[in-house]
Symmetry: C2
Amino acid sequence: MRLAKLLLPACLLPVLAAAAEPTQVPDAALATAEALRERALADDTGWKIVESLTTEVGPRLAGSEADARAVAWAQAKFRELGFDRVWIEPVRFPTWERRSEHAAVLGENAQPVVVTALGGSPGGTVEAQIVRFESMEALQAAPAGSLAGRIAFVDFDMQRTRDGSGYGKAGAVRSRGPSEAIRKGAIGYLMRSIGTSPHRVANTGITRFDEGLTPIPSAALSLPDADQLARLLARGPVRVRLALDCGWTGAEYTSHNVIGEITGREAPEQVVVIGAHLDSWDLGTGAIDDASGVGITMAAGRLIGQLPQRPRRSIRVIAFANEEQGLLGGREYARRHADDVTNHVIAAESDFGAGRIYGFSTSAPAHADAATRRFAQALTPLGIEHMPGKGGPGPDITPLAAVGGAWAWLGQDGSTYFDLHHNADDTLDKIDPQALAQNVAAYAVFAYLAAEAQGDFGSAPKQVATP
Amino acid sequence: MRLAKLLLPACLLPVLAAAAEPTQVPDAALATAEALRERALADDTGWKIVESLTTEVGPRLAGSEADARAVAWAQAKFRELGFDRVWIEPVRFPTWERRSEHAAVLGENAQPVVVTALGGSPGGTVEAQIVRFESMEALQAAPAGSLAGRIAFVDFDMQRTRDGSGYGKAGAVRSRGPSEAIRKGAIGYLMRSIGTSPHRVANTGITRFDEGLTPIPSAALSLPDADQLARLLARGPVRVRLALDCGWTGAEYTSHNVIGEITGREAPEQVVVIGAHLDSWDLGTGAIDDASGVGITMAAGRLIGQLPQRPRRSIRVIAFANEEQGLLGGREYARRHADDVTNHVIAAESDFGAGRIYGFSTSAPAHADAATRRFAQALTPLGIEHMPGKGGPGPDITPLAAVGGAWAWLGQDGSTYFDLHHNADDTLDKIDPQALAQNVAAYAVFAYLAAEAQGDFGSAPKQVATP
């Protein structure tokens, strides 16, 4: 690791000088990639990894006792899978805990409702009338102070989409809703889960309170419970008790990014990064978020490691720490490796479940177009379409991309992702082993071809405001 | 009510004497039934009743504060729907309460698992290794004392069926499993939920402990959690903490069967009974179990009540108390009306969800065959098949049938019933309004034709060991 970093200044200029030359993928590499692809489709390593992580570690909230077990598990798994180098890099963050959560309608229609605290919410018990808003915009439009002594209830209905675009639109309800509610005077915050499940599972996820505001208990309702509150409100005022026991503990925790590498035979310091995040929320066992990504990328790395010879460049598989509470592992990785970004040839994270991959794109510039098309050609038999201009870097790759790293997008079908995302239903049984194998095949093909390619995909240092 | 009972001795003999005469359904009644059927299909009264009960009362565990609200709701609803007579009959029973429930795997694979206490379970916290059995038979075959200090775990996988026959086979795991486990020395009992839902919802339901045994904490796991324990057991011993706070309170409670009647124009003392149970388990809002039955039968009664003239006999719609903890309402009704059984012309309960009705049969003897076939003829356009010999009385009708009451079966498609039955997912959104209307149509047709028929369907006093 230190070696690669020391070499950087020496190799930086030649790489940049070659940037205008077309990036090439040798024919032999393509043939090997095709064989890898077929082997991956018939291989259940990805599934076994997901089964192992979700069963043996189970839920692995960042900073919890299970976080350390997950880190130990990942190191052991990389070794078991035959990776050449396995190491960890520390990631430090404050810890948040969920202890208990209850909510109930009070009065003549008294009944419990299913809620889950948002990550970052303080504990506390509030009893008040709820005021419903159909969207963030409606909440924002409420007069200042109009929610004094009330619980805000944002009942925004997220749309089911293949590409997850519904999440983008709904995200503000969780991230900014609580702060907005406080500004209007609210003493508690309830939201319809950002999710598409018709079952009695509520979706957690991190929220942040703007500086200067006093945080309020904030929770998400399952969809049937949000509907129930809306029906009750149609009959008259509704009073709710929200009782959360949770919060930031005040302690700092050191977790780790866990890294396994298949060392390149010619340019070991140049790395193709694939990865996923190791942590999960605590409600399910983090099967589709993101044990599947861990399984997909570890299995892809292993398949490449089983070839008769090592790829030209290194394959670096990263199991990122604490994605869920703010990309802490991804940010720390980018900070630590920012001066080595040119050697990060291209990077992709699998963090959108275990649905089949349907689209592929990269951030690579024009001189890599021919190479990118060869990638796409090798992915076509998997039902994957080349979709230039679509997609983006996975969450933990975003900070690396921000400092200049090239990225690839292997777009998964997320139509059912938000049935499970951040709720108790995110368990192993929801994963289709065949779809998972298709993902492994795609990652193996992509990573191998990027490792065998001659030339770059546009990675180069970029000045950023906050590295 | 008392009048009908006093009349019984006088009318008993003539009715019995007429029993050999063929029971007849007038042509005019058939035409009216057909009109009723079409009106029912276009009517949303059933849906509105279900919406009202599940929203305003919500969960209504027998003996809870919500039980009294449900009884008040049902009386008001009968009146609002235009029933001629509305009354209540007391039903007394002990009360059981659920306060909290937790379970977790301990040790190196530490993680919570989703459980729910079985109705009737005592509270208590036990920590022990679990011992898995694939069936009740396997548990029964375990040597006496072999579970000393252990938690029994019966992992029987219930089959999904249209007619609910899978429930019959799985039922013993809940009803007799805990007692069997105690006899083998177990200190706690876990079972795979009797259910078919792949979601993180566990199914409750009543259990009983055999006399002379000391009850042990007994709970059901969601299916994904049962699978998780099985996977962990495949790796080695599994230690679990089961912590239940629940139990019989020691108090007795008086609930009520709530009865609404459309009074017959010629033979008001003769009643066609349709009904459902008013109570529910506490985890969902009791939408398919059994607000749907309440909505179906109340709406059918109302439609008949809206005809230009009252039917020849009375239509009696019964919302039974406390079905869930042992047919307490149904038993009390049969006890109270046993000497009036001949006037209970025929009875049917809707207590298998809100799926479409696909089959019809009755317990009626041969002399009523022609009449029964006319019923079937009027039901055929609803996609309902005449299936003589199939089905049985609904749960709350069983005690009435035991003392000699004739019954009808309007068999609902229960393919998805056990995705929701006795778990938190039993909420309004799971009901298809069109299927519900088909049920209302079938009950209206059946009840009306039975009320217009000349002759009996075989109801006659029967000597029973335990009335």
